[in-house]
């Protein structure tokens, strides 16, 4: 019984909470810009509103355009359920290998980019091009930064990594340093993957700067809602990965109720902190030029490589 409840929590935690954390980021950013900002629950209302609106679909759109939102959203739910959120004993053997997670997310990106191309407007195309460019370069940093942990923990299963890292007493300074380096690499990859500053501006509609928004320009109604929701999910997935893999302390190692509740609370706290940090980061740095992006992403990759060399 308890297990089933935990399962369900694990399954719906990400989609349920993700709009909230997007709201937090927006709120903090508004505050930092001396605005009052909308309520932190505003994203829920947005999704609800969009879900009930009528839709316009381009006559050029094919089934790819129609089904991409569903695929994207489903993938974020699957991935959300396959990563450690608040408990590590949850041994999801099916999809919780970190390469599976990375490639499942890539599957979403793949379809999103195709959807951007599908309707044949000028924006969608370059949006897809940029998205694929960035994601092709990001993957390396992402995989290698997690690989540092995987090699430390001798497993590539995300749950096992979390529990290992949590129970790990670090022996050498090299390991500290390497995990720190990997963390920096991961943060860079996170910002790139979730379309944040300095890579992308999630609230722009200016063709010079937009990547993600350009691809979904043609969407409206329920499909737009799903895509927005999916990208919120993605943000939460990455934040949870960051907080539970690199800073897993406090995550529940058993299905003891008290542990789990404590862990859940701690998880919310960690994620909130993360969101605040991201908002702060976004407010304090400028978006880089598109052709500067590779430098940054390569930095993330190199940092992880150094970390790997240190960790062995």
């Amino acid at each position: 019984m308890k297990l089933i409840i935990i399962c369900i929590i694990q399954l719906i935690l990400v989609p349920a909470l993700s709009p909230f954390f997007v709201g937090i980021v927006r709120k903090v950013k508004a505050r930092l810009q001396n605005r009052r900002g909308a309520s932190v629950f505003q994203p829920y209302s947005d999704i609800w509103k969009l879900l009930h609106k009528d839709e316009v679909i381009s006559e050029d759109a094919s089934w790819i355009f129609r089904y991409t939102p569903y695929i994207l959203f489903s993938i974020t739910i699957i991935v959300g359920a396959s990563i450690p959120l608040f408990v590590t004993t949850f041994t999801n053997y099916f999809t919780s290998d970190f390469l599976v997670v990375v490639y499942l997310l890539a599957l979403g990106t793949f379809f999103l980019a195709l959807a951007g191309l599908d309707v044949g407007n000028a924006f969608g195309g370059f949006g897809s091009s940029r998205e694929m460019t960035v994601s092709a370069l990001t993957e390396a940093g992402l995989v290698f930064s997690i690989l540092v942990l995987a090699l430390t923990a001798h497993t590539t299963n995300l749950f096992s990594i979390a529990s290992h890292i949590e129970s790990l007493t670090l022996h050498s300074h090299a390991q500290y340093v390497s995990i720190c380096l990997a963390f920096i690499g991961f943060i860079i990859a996170l910002l790139a993957e979730t379309g944040r500053f300095p890579f992308d501006n999630p609230s722009t509609h200016l063709e010079l700067t937009m990547i993600h928004e350009a691809m979904i320009l043609e969407y409206s109604g329920k499909r737009l809602a799903l895509i927005e929701w999916a990208s919120a999910n993605k943000l939460l997935i990455f934040i949870s990965l960051g907080s539970n893999l690199f800073l897993p302390w406090g995550i529940a190692n058993s299905i003891d109720s008290a542990d789990i509740i404590f862990s859940l609370v701690l998880f919310l706290l960690k994620v909130t902190c993360f969101c605040v940090a991201i908002a702060a980061l976004e407010s304090s740095i400028a978006k880089v030029r598109y052709f500067r992006i590779p430098d940054l992403l390569l930095t993330s990759f190199i940092l992880s490589v150094i970390a790997i060399i240190l960790v062995i």
Binding site: F94, A122, T133, T138
Partner: protein
């Protein structure tokens, strides 16, 4: 009992190919008869091939037979062990489906080219490949190897009215011949060491081989078979030759023929030569990294859909070599269980690549037969006119981009895992090599996705960019049958990763060197698990969750919003009228990646572009534009200098024939005098 059955089936296979070959020549005058004869017998032969290989794979038996010929040292000896049977299986499987596809595809050559010769060379080509992977005698091997090359050469130049094809064919034939020269030399060195061309005898007598000899054979083999496999920088023939052939043959060449090189790599490095030194593995890993990364980058640049696929083959050969290289390194370090894992990764990717690359080439063939062009820039919107081709091509694209739940993902995952083990375990230098390999594999994966988004998106999505694309029709039934079967296979081999891996593990263990060692991966039906719980993946799990969640979400959303109206509108056009010219082009799509990797790709630059509407522009002239279509650094830095050297020598040699008779007699005089001085003392 089984022995005899297998032999009979093998014999039937060969005779089907021969009947097919001869038959299509006989029926040369009648297009349909020649077509049916060529393809149906190829189909039958392939079916027998599948039966043969399946029986051997399942029973694990080893079949060998030998017929003496009228030539000494040269026996028609065949030896089919599990490894051969595996490659035989791949060849038969792909050629089976290619033959189905061919029946429909060939119709558009009717009355333009001779169908009979196509059928002839097609059958000979398949028979050649089949014999290459089963031959057990060096001379026999070389003969069938050359027959395979010869047949494929004629298939490459089949559309001989196109000058480019002839050029590509010539380059291919010359390269493959030079490659064969290296192979011959390697075999000669083996002969020198053991006194035989028979692989079995060589294997038995090779233990005393000197390291110098062993390393020489390694280098020669890498160059010789690497030319066929298309490793960079020996790949230059590949992007020209594969596209030039008819599409179902391209599918065979890219999907299967280049794998014969891989087969011989495995055969020689892990089976015939004993005790591979560490640097062999390093070399292969480095070659694999370079080939995979550069291969996919070149693919990104291409506008020609079949050339793009050909470059992607180079990339995939690179990935296979990463698996094989790690296997060799582990083998040298005596970590045999991991070596088996690497080998499984390589074999699995070999199988997978054959399937999805054949699928993609067939898809490309359908598109080409619909639009009569290979230029991606002239496609667009084909998903509406050719929906089924589009769907099948999409599956292929996803598989080649290693996206779950298709088969490409699993083999790439396994390759990653063996590379991770390499990073985990050894000395600094080994670790560094493995990091390079893993890094290049990751970049390759991302770039492959970008490349195939481009290939699929520009081809099938948006609005048609040309008249031809607008009026394209869905390809005929047999074409779709061929593709659909392959698409099902991509999913099948993705889904049943567990059983297939255990089969591959058995194949690997059938090699002498791995006979008494355990594989590092354990398989169940639903999951593949690595030693020490390092990693677990369940391909059925991924598929089921994807299917469940997607259908679930679709249903839920449908239930929630069934009352809503969906209005069709035109794409947002910013107030102007949107034309296909405004869509992103193929060049535009990959432009940013090309710019980023400009240092590696060395794209050509064009200066002083003048626009036809210059007076309306703010910048009336653009000084430098990156075209990114040419990347002949291999020509410039490797082949041209070599060719130049030969030409210079030839020019010197030419002066011998000066036309002066006095000089000629002087040669005789000098030759005579120097011989007298040198030899008679």
């Amino acid at each position: 009992m089984i022995d005899i059955l297998v032999k009979i089936s093998f014999f039937f296979m060969l005779s089907s190919f021969i009947i097919g070959a001869v038959g299509s020549l006989v029926f040369m005058r009648n297009n349909w008869l020649a077509n049916l004869c060529g393809n149906l017998f190829a189909f039958a032969g392939s079916a027998f091939g599948i039966i043969t290989s399946a029986v051997i794979l399942i029973t694990g038996s080893v079949i060998s037979c030998s017929l003496p010929t009228s030539f000494t040292l040269f026996t028609l000896s065949l030896h089919i062990d599990s490894l051969s049977a595996f490659f035989l299986f791949i060849i038969s499987l792909i050629s089976l489906l290619c033959s189905i596809y061919g029946i429909g595809y060939i119709t558009h050559f009717f009355n333009k080219y001779n169908i009979g010769t196509l059928g002839f060379f097609y059958n000979i080509f398949i028979a050649g490949m089949v014999l290459v992977v089963t031959a057990n005698n060096g001379l026999f091997f070389l003969i069938v190897w050359e027959i395979m090359s010869l047949a494929s050469y004629f298939l490459v130049i089949y559309e001989h009215k196109d000058k480019e094809n002839i050029k590509a064919g010539t380059l291919y034939f010359v390269m493959t011949h030079i490659g064969t020269a290296f192979i011959i030399f390697a075999f000669l060195l083996l002969y020198k060491t053991t006194g035989s061309f028979d692989f079995t005898i060589i294997k038995d007598n090779i233990s005393g081989i000197s390291p110098f000899m062993k390393n020489s054979i390694f280098v020669l083999t890498i160059i010789g078979f690497g030319t066929k496999a298309g490793i960079i920088p020996l790949h230059t023939w590949l992007p020209g030759a594969h596209p030039a052939a008819p599409s179902h043959v391209s599918a065979l060449m890219s999907g299967v023929m280049i794998k014969t090189g891989i087969y011989m790599f495995i055969r020689i490095f892990l089976d015939i030569l004993p005790d591979a030194p560490l640097w062999w593995g390093y070399t292969i890993l480095i070659i694999g990294s370079i080939s995979s990364l550069l291969g996919i980058l070149y693919a990104l640049i291409e506008h020609d859909i079949k050339r793009l696929l050909a470059y992607s083959s180079i990339e995939n050969i690179g990935i296979i070599l990463l698996g094989l290289g790690s296997a060799l390194v582990f083998f040298s370090l005596n970590m045999k269980s991991f070596a088996i894992m690497g080998l499984i990764a390589a074999l699995y990717h070999t199988l997978n690549h054959s399937i999805f690359k054949a699928l993609l080439f067939m898809g490309a063939g359908s598109v080409i037969s619909g639009t009569h062009t290979r230029n991606i820039e002239e496609y667009g919107g084909l998903i509406k006119t050719m929906p089924q081709t589009a769907f099948l091509f999409l599956i292929g694209s996803m598989a080649v981009s290693a996206l779950p739940p298709f088969n490409g993902f699993f083999s790439e995952w396994l390759t990653f895992q063996s590379l991770f083990h390499g990073i985990k375990s050894f000395s600094f230098f080994t670790q560094l090599i493995f990091i390079i390999a893993a890094g290049s594999l990751i970049f390759t994966g991302g770039l492959a996705a970008a490349c195939f988004v481009k290939a699929f998106g520009i081809t099938f999505l948006a609005r048609p960019r040309s008249e031809a694309a607008k009026h394209a029709k869905e390809s005929s039934f047999t074409l779709r049958i061929g593709m659909a079967s392959l698409a099902v296979l991509t999913l099948f081999f993705g889904l049943f990763a567990g059983p297939v891996s255990s089969m591959l593990s058995r194949i690997s263990k059938s090699l002498c060197v791995f006979q008494d060692s355990e594989s590092a991966i354990s398989t169940q039906f639903h999951a593949v698990k690595l030693q020490d719980d390092f990693a677990i993946v369940s391909m059925p799990g991924i598929l089921i969750s994807l299917v469940l969640f997607i259908t679930g979400i679709v249903i839920i959303i449908y239930l929630l919003t069934r009352n809503q109206k969906i209005r069709k509108g035109i794409t947002w056009d910013c107030g102007t009228s949107l034309t296909p010219r405004m869509e992103i082009t193929d060049t535009g799509f990959s432009r940013s990646l090309i710019t980023i990797f400009g240092g590696l790709l060395k794209p050509s630059r064009q200066s002083d572009i003048e626009y036809h509407d210059a007076n309306q522009r703010y910048f009336q002239k653009l000084n430098i534009a990156t075209l990114g279509t040419r990347h002949d650094i291999y020509n410039t830095y490797l082949y041209k200098p070599l060719q130049g050297l030969v030409t210079i020598i030839a020019d010197y040699v030419k002066t011998i024939q000066s036309g002066n008779i006095n000089g000629y007699i002087l040669y005789i005089f000098i030759a005579m005098m120097s011989l007298l001085l040198l030899f008679v003392i």
